[in-house]
Amino acid sequence: MTKRTDAVVTRRRALLAGAAAAGFLGLFTRGNAIELRGMPAWDPLSGPPPDIVKPGPWQFFTAEEGTAVEALVDRLIPPDPKWAGGKDAGCAVYIDRQLAGPFGRSAGLYMRPPFDEQATDRGPQSPFTPAQRYRRSLADLDEHCKGAFAGKSFAQIPDAEKDKLLSGLESGAVTLKHNTGRGFFELLLQNTKEGFFADPAYGGNRDMVGWRMIGFPGARYDYRDWIERHNETYPRPPVAISGAPQWTPRQG
């Protein structure tokens, strides 16, 4: 059982915020700098565990965007008889929650002008946050599909057409309205793979499907018994930060 006092957690969260994006001049309403004199007391369970993503409605996507992203991630990682695809693995939910959080707003990144968007050899230079890029590119993709496929959205066209379009975006053969095709494809693919392989705490990798598929035992922390068992398959199933299905008693 996790038991912790809210006061402690709140204080830790404030410290964490101080360490993160807001931790520089001008964004503070109160100070978080501390003077260390003596060893700070150890508050049990005082750390900042990850926020576990809960099922529920989209937090960032509109219903149409959510449908499109589910269709996109299900082609990038298609379902097969043995392993779920991107949609059932929760990759769209993962991306939705990431875009609603610090990642979506480029928290902590250097976002001061001028932006030289033409330069490709000196690191990413987009003035747009991931949330802005998804919003704009999904609208552009929708417009493209409706123009090219008689009013149909991406989710409504046949799989073969979806794959052709994705290949075109990847190669640069297909560009979208704001010239966002390839860049958006790369962002989406990276985020989809994150969703497939990140800890299920973040909304993807449902039932640890990505880990089971490749043979990764997950958030285990001790392999001393197996390091010298050379070329032998590790016998135990994966666990996640929040545990494993077999640890949770089933109701009834």
């Binding site: 360490a19 260390l36 690191g123 800890d199 392999y223 390091i227 050379h230 930060i241």
Partner: protein
């Protein structure tokens, strides 16, 4: 207007490895020490406990423990003809942040540099003649020798509890250790870590090829260890979350697991976290530091007067602060004059991917510093006469992790998505093995650091600007090392093998290493070095600059052990020489 705090004996900028070592040594000498740290306080139980430390997304992909570029970043260009653009997110390297600094999230590969590395220019010139070196190469001797630093390598290793097997014990070569290393005064504090399948198979292939592989020295400990300060570390459990992560087991050497538990309770020590030093203050003569000015997380400005100022920030930001404070002459690449920002260097790594059938390497059973290596192609351990380059690196099978977001590979030609990709990563995850080279990067006239004319940080200060690209010498070296690595890796019997030598131009989007070096290098001549052999500023004798900032060029090893040894070396000079007679320890 800055509010003035009571004066202290010593102010330390940055509380990572070097700041912690210096604070420990100088509080032991009875001085009052104040450390100022830009990032937050961090500890094992609160920031990376075993209950959730093993989170690839949070710590690796989202950079939880690192400096935020919004706090401070730098601009980058390949050459002086380009306009430098800001590193808006991190890619090629990961500047640390917070108490413990890079010591929190390193892989803990704990190498010593070669004896010849410290006298590189003289050594290469003696052996091959001055004309053998490229005209624009600006390598130089360090001003210290391996023999000077040996006791301090030993100090750092015994602080950390480093796991390894000596190959040269007081001049006596020993089978099973590195035959090329300089003499060690004693055995490693703890025996080597255990090896998983991949390194074992690679070592067998290396022996068949006539080499003497040895276990990589590791700061992730093979067994529990109590260091000379009385702090105990636990045994590594091979979880595979080292680099980018804090260790939840107290088994990776870091300031938190080796020094801070004895440093923080001291009456004559205190630290301020989430406070950013703006500049080093000097008096009217410019020859004496009077302390530092910093801004806390309320945006309030403070002046901390001190008799002695120690720059212990990350390499890049030591140089940034020197430039912002107007200490020393900034380097001018056109004339070759000036020293602040001169001789920036990096590290040249490469890899060979080997795809097998019916082999299971369990890549997730890993530690940041296990592995089997050979040192035959490092430094000048091999004859470069016919090769057309200088430098080298260690090569080997180093199993650091099997984390799946970035750790799934498929042979070239596999689509990057779709059914084929999915099938390929499922097939290859357990049966793919990557071997690596870790090579030197020498210094050049056109690789340097200065202040950016356009971009500013959150405080309105000019950002640091990096001008850097790989040179032919290093690319030839990488090709050669990668070929030698592939010769051995091929003997492991892969079905498909792919070589990935490093190639120019330098790609800042892709992580390579965080071994940024130089910019305020040490040496015997104030015309070509910013600090003397004791890391003391030639211009401002009550200022010392620690860290890889001092490396005149980088060797083919991970830098931390040398950074630690230099910290103890500098601390000894301060305690035994400077405090008795404050002033220049070397006459220019």
């Amino acid at each position: 207007m800055a509010r003035k705090l009571p004066a202290t004996d010593v102010v330390i900028v940055g509380l990572g490895w070097t700041g912690s070592i210096l604070a420990h040594e100088l509080t032991e000498a009875g001085l009052n020490v104040v450390a100022i740290e830009r990032g937050p306080w961090r500890d094992t139980s609160s920031d990376f406990p075993v209950t959730y430390a093993q989170d690839e997304l949070r710590y690796h992909i989202r950079h939880e423990l690192f400096l935020r570029p919004a706090q401070e970043t730098l601009t980058f260009r390949h050459n002086a003809r380009q306009t430098a653009l800001p590193m808006r997110t991190w890619g090629t390297f990961m500047p640390p942040n917070g108490v413990g600094g890079g010591g929190v999230h390193w892989n803990a590969e704990t190498w010593r540099f070669l004896e010849s590395d410290f006298v590189l220019k003289s050594h290469l010139t003696d052996r091959y003649g001055a004309k053998f070196l490229p005209d624009d190469m600006t390598i130089q001797d360090w001003g210290v020798t391996y023999a000077d630093l040996e006791p301090h390598y030993d100090q750092f290793e015994y602080l950390c509890g480093t796991s390894g097997y000596a190959g040269n014990l007081a001049g006596q070569k020993r089978q099973g250790g590195n035959p090329y290393e300089g003499p060690r005064s004693r055995e490693y504090p703890t025996p080597p870590q255990k090896q998983p399948y991949g390194p074992t198979l690679w070592a067998k292939a290396a022996v068949e090829s006539g080499f003497q592989p040895f276990p990589q020295p590791s700061g992730n400990l093979s067994q529990a260890y109590t260091n000379p300060l009385g702090v105990t570390l636990g045994p590594c459990t091979y979880c595979g979350y080292c680099e980018w992560f804090g260790c939840g087991n107290y088994s990776k050497a870091s300031p938190q697991t080796t020094i801070l538990p004895t440093l923080l309770p001291k009456e004559n020590f205190k630290a301020h976290t989430l406070c950013t030093v703006q500049r080093i203050n000097t008096d009217g003569t410019g020859k004496r530091a009077t302390g530092v000015t910093y801004i806390d997380s309320n945006g309030e400005e403070w002046e901390q007067p001190a008799d002695l100022v120690l720059l212990c920030a990350f390499q890049l930001f030591n140089v940034h602060l020197l430039l912002l404070s107007g200490i020393g002459t900034p380097y001018d690449p056109n004339t070759g004059e000036g020293v602040i920002g001169r001789n920036y260097s990096y590290q040249v790594t490469s890899a060979v991917d080997a795809f097998f059938e019916d082999q299971n390497f369990n890549p997730f059973i890993a530690s940041g510093a296990i592995g089997m290596c050979i040192d035959d192609f490092n430094g000048d351990n091999f004859d470069h006469g016919s090769l057309g380059f200088v430098g080298g690196g260690y090569i080997g099978a180093v199993q650091t992790n099997g984390r799946p977001i970035l750790g799934t590979r498929a042979p070239s030609g596999t689509p990057s998505w779709g059914a084929e990709w999915k099938k390929a990563v499922a097939e290859h995850y357990l049966s793919t093995y990557t071997t690596v080279t870790h090579g030197s990067c020498y210094s050049y006239k056109d690789c340097f650091l200065d202040l950016d004319p356009t971009y500013t940080d959150a405080y309105g200060r000019k950002l640091l600007r990096m001008t850097f690209d790989f040179h032919d010498n290093e690319m030839k070296m990488s090709q050669y090392l990668t070929d030698r690595l592939a010769d051995i890796t091929q003997k492991m019997g892969p079905k498909v093998m792919e070589k990935h030598p490093r190639t120019a131009p330098y790609n800042v989007n892709v992580y390579q290493t965080t071994h940024t070096c130089g910019g305020a290098v040490m040496g015997d001549d104030p015309k070509t070095s910013a600090v003397n052999r004791y890391l003391q500023s030639w211009d401002v004798p009550n200022l010392f600059v620690f860290g890889a900032t001092a490396f005149p060029q980088n060797a083919g090893y991970n830098p931390t052990n040398t950074v630690g040894a230099l910290a103890f070396w500098g601390a000894k000079a301060i305690r035994e020489q400077y405090l008795k007679n404050p002033g220049p320890l070397v006459q220019a």
